[in-house]
Symmetry: C2
Subunit: 307 residues, 2 copies
């Protein structure tokens, strides 16, 4: 069992979808990644920041699942990062209604001493300099560094982003962002260009169309589970990344063959995330649920051609 460090936002989200809307609920990249990774019983630590307005019960929710929150700074007189968004009818696109950075504006991440030798580091979506700051605190070189990012940082901090990209082993990014970062329309060519920026493994997330894992000339594809209703896509990408990282931390096998399995577990966990608002489905997930969903993924994708 490897130790896993997770950096990312811990936030309030307010979400509107065609199925309804929420008040401020628990959200943030590190939250979704932590909840997802916790299904593998790993020893994980979240590195993040919240304000004095953040309920202790939300932090307890992570601790209870073996996600250490010593690295979640509480700024007593500050306010927690707040995001609000509205999804369109097709659920594939959304408008951001509100972004209040609040305590994120001056965030200096601190990795707890006990996790500075973690074998796996998951850099969730945050300013590239914060991601880099976490990497620089590791006293032992991690066996695997995974980076998630988004177009926002490409638009305002591309040089910093490219610098941190050059230092990671795996990047997870969505299809449009892969095209923007590489200048290539074909995802095969986009992955090649991104390889050349540093990461040996490139994961391109295609939402309802699944995810592709690239490594040199090898490719692997995991579909998203086709669902009758996608209730709320918020956090699905982070849940995917958390499942990917958590499975690798549990199995300690960083081969391409095992990364295929990690991608399948990422998709499996993401398929739960979208079934309810926010983290609601993720906090009520059982090992039995995951086992059964994994069976559905096998039935969905595995075939037996005698050739």
């Amino acid at each position: 069992m490897s130790k896993l460090v997770i950096v990312g936002t811990v936030a309030f989200d307010a979400i509107e979808t065609p199925f309804g809307k929420t008040d401020k609920i628990l959200g943030g990249a590190a939250t979704y990644i932590g909840l997802s990774a916790s299904n593998f019983g790993v020893d994980a630590a979240a590195v993040s920041v919240v304000g004095g307005d953040f309920p202790q019960e939300y932090l307890d929710l992570l601790s209870d699942r073996n996600v250490n929150v010593d690295g979640v700074e509480i700024v007593k007189d500050g306010k927690t990062f707040f995001w609000s968004g509205k999804y369109h009818n097709d659920m594939n696109s959304r408008d951001t209604l509100v972004t209040e950075l609040n305590v994120l504006e001056t965030f200096n991440p601190v990795v707890p001493n006990a996790y500075k030798d973690a074998e796996i580091v998951m850099l969730g979506n945050l300013h590239p300099l914060v991601q880099l700051g976490v990497l620089e605190q590791m006293t032992t070189k991690p066996k695997l560094v995974i980076l998630d990012t988004m177009d926002f940082w490409m638009n305002i901090a591309l040089d910093d982003l490219k610098h941190v990209i050059s230092k990671v082993d795996v990047i997870t990014i969505n299809d449009e962002e892969a095209r923007q970062l590489s200048g290539e329309y074909s995802l095969v060519n986009a992955a090649k260009k991104i390889h050349s920026m540093g990461p040996k493994y490139v994961v391109i997330k295609k939402g309802e169309h699944g995810a592709l894992l690239f490594h040199n000339d090898d490719m692997f594809y995991a579909p998203a589970l086709p669902l009758a209703e996608v209730f709320d896509p918020t956090g699905a990408g982070d849940t995917f990344a958390g499942g990917f990282a958590g499975y690798l931390a549990k199995t300690e096998d960083l081969s391409f063959e095992n990364m295929k399995n990690a991608v399948i577990y990422g998709s499996t966990l993401a398929s739960f995330c979208v079934e309810k608002f926010g983290t609601e489905r993720m906090v009520n997930l059982t090992q039995e649920d995951i086992k059964n969903r994994l069976k559905q993924f096998k039935a969905l994708t595995q075939f037996n051609i005698q050739s």
Copy 2:
């Protein structure tokens, strides 16, 4: 080995893509289906119509691959169906520039006597009444009838289309058309509605995002092979259908498990079709090519989770 009857257009196409443009070249649904199915060495017959302007060498090209053309009527003083289209830069959408129905306007399909007892009938994209006319000529009830159609017929002949849909076992249709036909956005719900119209098996084609096979509550997903360049998507859907039908005709196993394999072969063959203009890649395909490509599909999709 089952006998296979294929009905569909045999046509001239003129195609423009970001990579170049063609003069009038060989095209049509029955052509692509026949070329694709011929890779399984099946005893197939094409039922279609061409004008006096259609080169004998194109008909020979089908005959040489064991696709009987006795059912391809030649209207000496008529002109062959002509379609011209231009693909946009993303290759996922296209504009139709010219549609000249010509001999198709008065086409009465005639199934050759030797194929009226064929076990499998592939109704390629054509007016639903032509598709129905072929079904009505079968003297023995086919074991499997597969229907391909498009939005054009939903717009101008919906009642006729629903009538023929009620008589088939498998329908292949693209995602937008499935949504139009069912009035459901979710493909899972769309497939359920289409099931209730008659077909026990629903195949939803998602272009570069692969294809889904639905049967009651079972689902199977085959990705499209991610390619560095899609040169010309014309005929990919028909090539998919031809591979699906051809594999089932060869194996004579109509179980859901074997239909999974048929979907994989359909995707495998379609992945060749888009590599060159028109039928160019399909007429130069070897068994070795197919075997190697199938290996790529396995590497792309198969995993081994010890749970």
